[in-house]
């Protein structure tokens, strides 16, 4: 009996001691699908500048979008931050976001934001190829070359559940058509030997070690690898730049204000900070991405944005066609 009593009172004491975790009045809650450490510096700068605290609630972008949808008006989120334009556009189509004022969004390239201003891109990344300098990959200049029989067992790609992979394929599908993309996927499946990688960093590693000749990644993974191994034998190929080529596939990380935010004005202030020149520089720099705001330069190690021709697919399309892409991937049986 003593034990039971102790257990009971102990439990009660614990429940009382439980910290009540609710966002305070003046705090903003951000559902974030972007890596913590890339968001925290800019949040710190915002708090220092305005005194407004920001609580970061991190999880997978898609899981958070699903949560936002299920929660509806009960959500505590004021903002939704995602690394994938597809998610942002899907959220917009579900009517989860509040349109942003034009003066906030018009500094951002029109292709990198929602047509109805319901979300805005913050930083852009290019889907590029990484090649081992010692391999016979001199002929590779297009993403579609990954299906070339000469690269049998020599290419490294992530598995097809990866968000960046799906977004990239969506761009190829919209730029070059489903049929070409389908046969390309079959070739990629063949050339990867049914063996894919679960992380982009492992793709770069496999290419650097010479196990594979060419890999398909977001550009910043290559520079991340070079940080740790400055003399790794790898080079960047910006694909599809030639005459008539489709251009590089882009994707953006972006942000939206929740339709049910009770602090939407404060939330808009946060977005304003993020699209300001200072905020843009900081947001993109930590991950060596391209600032989405016109006229803000990216870090100098990556090829300047104006030297790259980008595919003309608008970012908003990534959301609309994602399920079609997944259908295609499944039909091909992409691992």
């Amino acid at each position: 009996m003593k034990l039971a009593n102790k257990l009971g009172s102990g439990l009660l004491a614990l429940l009382m001691a439980m910290p009540v975790v609710h966002a305070a009045e003046d705090e903003l809650v951000v559902y974030s699908g972007r890596s913590d450490k890339f968001v925290k510096p800019v949040i710190k700068a915002f708090t220092e500048a305005t005194g407004i605290k920001v609580v970061l609630h991190s999880a997978k972008s898609t899981a958070l979008l699903n949560k936002l949808r299920v929660e509806g008006e009960r959500t505590e989120a004021d903002l939704y931050l995602s690394n994938d334009a597809g998610n942002l556009q899907l959220g917009s189509e579900m009517g989860l976001f509040l349109p942003l004022p034009v003066k906030v969004t018009d500094v951002i390239d029109a292709r990198l934001r929602a047509p109805d201003n319901s979300w805005v891109g913050l930083s852009a990344r290019a889907r590029v190829l990484v090649a081992n300098t010692a391999s016979d990959s001199g002929f590779v200049e297009s993403v579609f070359d990954l299906a070339d029989p000469r690269l049998k067992d020599k290419i490294a790609v992530t598995h097809s559940g990866n968000g960046s992979f799906i977004a990239g394929v969506t761009v190829y599908m919209l730029a070059e058509g489903s049929d070409k993309t389908r046969s390309w996927l079959k070739g990629v499946k063949e050339n990867s030997g049914g063996k894919t990688f679960n992380k982009h960093s492992k793709v770069v590693k496999a290419v650097a070690s010479g196990k594979k000749a060419v890999g398909l990644v977001n550009h910043y993974y290559i520079y991340r690898h070079l940080d740790a191994h400055p003399d790794a034998p790898i080079r960047v190929i910006v694909p599809d730049q030639g005459e008539g080529g489709m251009g590089v596939a882009w994707n953006v990380a972006g942000i939206a204000v929740s339709k049910y935010s009770k602090k939407s004005e404060t939330a808009v202030r946060f977005v304003e900070f993020l699209v300001s020149e200072k905020g843009q520089k900081q947001f993109a720099e930590v991950n060596r991405e391209y600032p989405a705001r016109k006229g803000v330069a990216a870090v100098s190690v990556i090829p300047p944005a104006d030297s790259i021709r980008a595919a003309t697919v608008a970012m908003a399309e990534l959301g609309k066609h994602r399920n079609a892409t997944i259908d295609l991937l499944e039909a091909v049986g992409m691992p």
Binding site: M1, L3, A4, L7, L11, L14, L15, M18, V20, V21, H22, A23, V29, S35, D36, K37, V55, L56, H57, S58, A59, K60, T62, A63, L65, N66, K67, R69, V70, E71, G72, R74, E76, A77, L90, H159, G161, I166, K195, T196, N198, K199, S201, K202, K205, S209, K211, R322, N323, I326, E330, P335
Partner: protein, 522 residues
């Protein structure tokens, strides 16, 4: 009077079971909204492969846990040798490591530049490929290491409690030791084995951590992709329904086989006295147990310590880290206590009343264990938002999901303890004038204390390791250790994921210690 008491108990149980069945209602309801074309689509593209992969994985893991769990339990129960207590601990400690941490550690150790990868190349040269862990065998290996301790615990208890007479009879009739094992001991072990393997198999069916890390397509992973990749909750529910039916079939089969096998021993028969191991046996025992412990605990621990040390020396462990640890332990304590309390009436009812209703209650209460975490989370969140919106926000929703998810563990351990209770003791309490609640409080609960403690520990261990539901349902900004491991691991930050994993292991130790102490007393 008796009837009245049971009807009160029955209604409390009914409420608990209703809560436990929320995710099932959700799954059934959402699946009904799937059109027949979409069912056909699911069947056509996925179901056969998923069914094959999932069953294949369950089979590998059951076999793996059988080999690891039974061999270690037999050696430890039947021989005394130097370091036996240490050996027992080494066989139980793997429970402290979550499957996703296991998978994460082994994928990085088996990479080209990982510890085992380098060792492999040194031993066999670079011509022989490093074993590929991204396969069914790899996932089976990981899940066996993570799960065999359940089989070990149950089989060891059964072996130490077994009476000697049947074995002696067999020996007198000229059976060889192997024959005795195969034809006497193994059949006697069947209930313990069945229970152990059932726990393991249910863990496999609902495992998300290892299969997602290893990209091995099972039901859980596919359900998750359906929910997260396509934002298709109905499709996910459809797949879940198939998984539930698969698991229930398995559970019913298991109960059926167990109920046909009942062995009774009279209490006066002599208990087995373990024999002292000879020198040669000692070496062999430690070689085998050491090998198991090396892969299941020591190697992962050393790896975690190594990277934690890196983080510590690079001054990466900030004050937030202790906050995550606090959150995890707090969540574990509260959720385990609540689950044990909530599971008590279900266990009590099923051990007192045998009817189709009580059986039904029991099976419904185990639903949470067979559904993947994300589905439980979605079911609970949908229900609370629709019916009890005031409860939303804060810890309540997460607690509910965890209770639903791990209730079967609490129910089973408590029920097992109650089965051993003679009804006459309770009747004596009643005769002496105790009311039903007083009787429960002063007679029943103290008598089943061991079972209650075991239940608490089992739930605690699973709660603090739980990832998918916690990730979705935790209150805003409430990061726990598994959440941090997930966040850092998805960015390949070994130095930051390792300290969180280490704290998780350390945090589980007191709970394991409590359980082992209770075991020892019995």
């Amino acid at each position: 009077m008796v009837l009245k008491r049971f009807s009160f108990l029955s209604s409390v149980t009914g409420v608990v079971v209703l809560m436990a069945a929320i995710p099932l209602f959700f799954v059934v309801y959402s699946s009904f909204q799937l059109s027949s074309e979409r069912w056909y689509g699911l069947w056509d593209t996925r179901l056969p492969d998923l069914m094959g992969n999932t069953l294949w994985l369950a089979l590998i893991v059951a076999l793996g846990c059988f080999i690891l769990g039974v061999s270690s339990a037999w050696l430890i129960a039947r021989r005394t040798f130097a370091g036996r207590t240490l050996a027992i601990w080494l066989m139980v400690l793997p429970l402290a490591i979550p499957t996703y941490v296991f998978a994460y550690i082994y994928t990085s150790m088996l990479a080209d530049d990982g510890w085992l990868g380098k060792l492999w190349v040194t031993l066999f040269g670079s011509g022989v490929g490093i074993p590929d862990i991204y396969t069914g065998w790899g996932a089976g290996f990981i899940l066996s290491l993570a799960g065999f301790s359940y089989v070990f615990l149950l089989v060891r208890t059964s072996l130490t409690g077994a009476s000697l007479s049947m074995e002696e009879a067999a020996r007198l009739h000229g059976a060889t030791p192997l024959e005795v094992f195969m034809r006497v001991q193994l059949p006697l072990l069947r209930p313990a084995l069945a229970a152990g393997l059932a726990v393991v198999t249910l863990h496999v069916l609902s495992d998300f951590g290892a299969v997602s890390m290893l990209q091995y397509q099972t039901f859980t992973l596919s359900i998750y992709m359906q929910m997260e990749g396509r934002l298709d909750n109905q499709g996910a529910a459809g797949l879940s329904l198939v998984l539930v039916m698969l698991s229930l079939t398995f559970l019913v089969l298991e109960r059926f086989f167990r109920s046909r096998q009942r062995y009774f021993s009279n209490s006066r028969s002599r208990r087995f006295q373990p024999r002292r191991a000879t020198g040669g046996e000692l070496v062999m025992i430690w070689c085998w147990l050491g090998l198991i412990a090396l892969f299941a605990f020591i190697l992962p621990l050393v790896w975690v310590l190594h990277w934690s040390w890196q983080a510590w020396s690079a001054d990466l462990i900030g004050s937030e880290f202790w906050g995550y640890t606090y959150n995890s332990l707090m969540l574990g304590v509260i959720a385990a206590s609540a689950t044990v309390v909530v599971g008590l009436p279900v266990a009590l009812y099923h051990s007192r009343v045998r009817s189709w209703l009580s059986a039904c209650y029991l099976h419904l209460s185990s639903i949470g264990f067979v559904l993947p975490g994300p589905v439980v989370a979605l079911g609970v969140i949908t229900f609370v938002l629709a019916q009890l919106p005031l409860l939303y926000g804060g810890l309540v929703v997460l607690l509910m999901a965890l209770m639903v998810r791990f209730m079967p563990l609490a129910v089973q351990s408590q029920e097992a303890a109650m089965q051993q209770l003679t009804p006459s003791i309770e009747q004596a309490g009643r005769v002496l004038g105790a009311g039903p609640l007083e009787n429960l409080w002063r007679v029943t609960l103290p008598m089943i204390r061991g079972g209650v403690i075991t239940a608490w520990v089992l739930v605690f261990i699973d709660v603090i390791k739980e990832l998918p539901a916690t990730l979705i349902l935790r209150p805003i900004g409430y990061d726990t250790l598994p959440v941090r491991i997930w966040i850092e691991a998805s960015e390949e930050m070994l130095e930051l994921a390792a300290p969180a994993a280490l704290m998780l292991i350390v945090g589980t130790l007191p709970a394991l210690w409590i359980m082992m102490r209770a075991e020892g007393r019995r």
